[in-house]
Symmetry: C2
Subunit: 134 residues, 2 copies
DNA sequence: TGAAACCTTCACATAGGTGTGATGGTCAAG
DNA sequence: CTTGACCATCACACCTATGTGAAGGTTTCA
């Protein structure tokens, strides 16, 4: 498929797909006329990239760990230098810490919402104009 | 305490502390001479801000939800407009999604590392710089 | 043949968090 | 007083992920 199609399938703008390529995250083939040609697996790949970006990892890091997370990697993980493994381990641990922080914050939000909901239940009075009792 | 101390305690640069203030996330008192005066609770507060920022929330949103997560909030959560609650709920859900993505990626990394470790165990030949056995 | 829809590259712009330096005030110790 | 450590404000700079537009080639369809 060409870039427009992939853009539609992934939600990433064409610009962004070119950017990911520029950053070395994806390496599409080229047709004779210069058009980029993407095979189907790029859909998953791009989604994964976006997930990692959204997770706060910079492209520089994603570029390095992505080969490890490749689709049906099961059997043929060939290139695993010790540095690679160290990096991956470190990033995984960082990710875990980050996850913990997020969970704590999420739980604090939930807790607050629960409390407010409980409070709400006790004050049947209309909500809007009157700030809310308590 | 003054800004330098808080900076030391939180790891946030002075610049950043002023930035958070500029964004309305913290509102320290001022001494007669203009110096910012922070009370102890700002340490937790700043840490929480950094956690949320790291979580990908923009200051604009943090500013809004922070009052809800305030420390001993237990009893006196006074100002909870419906919009506020909706925003908080939405952000919490976004956060949950984000957490899920992170967990999936983290698990993929762990899985890969486990596989490689298993593979390693089978090839006793010291690889490169004798990384570190398993 | 020409218009529409797609593609290319290049380059400048923006937004958010953060670094850094200039310039100057405050305060405590020698 | 002066020195040094702290503080203040202001402003310019950076990085990274993105948007956007210009100028031009290709393909498709009428």
């Amino acid at each position: 498929m060409r870039i427009g199609e992939l853009s539609r399938l992934t939600g990433a703008s064409r610009r962004l797909l070119r950017y990911y390529e520029e950053q070395g995250l994806i390496v599409p083939d080229r047709r004779a006329n210069g058009y980029r040609e993407y095979d189907d697996r790029y859909v998953d790949r791009v989604n994964q990239i976006r997930g990692l970006l959204d997770a706060g990892l910079p492209t520089r890091i994603i570029k390095q760990i992505l080969p490890c997370l490749d689709k049906p990697r099961s059997i043929h993980f060939p290139d695993a230098t010790p540095e690679m493994l160290a990096l991956l381990t470190a990033e995984r641990d960082r990710l875990t810490e980050r996850i913990d922080v997020l969970i704590r914050n999420r739980d604090a939000m939930s807790e607050y919402l629960t409390e407010v909901a409980g409070c709400r239940a006790l004050t049947p009075g209309g909500s809007h104009g009157t700030p809310n009792s308590v």
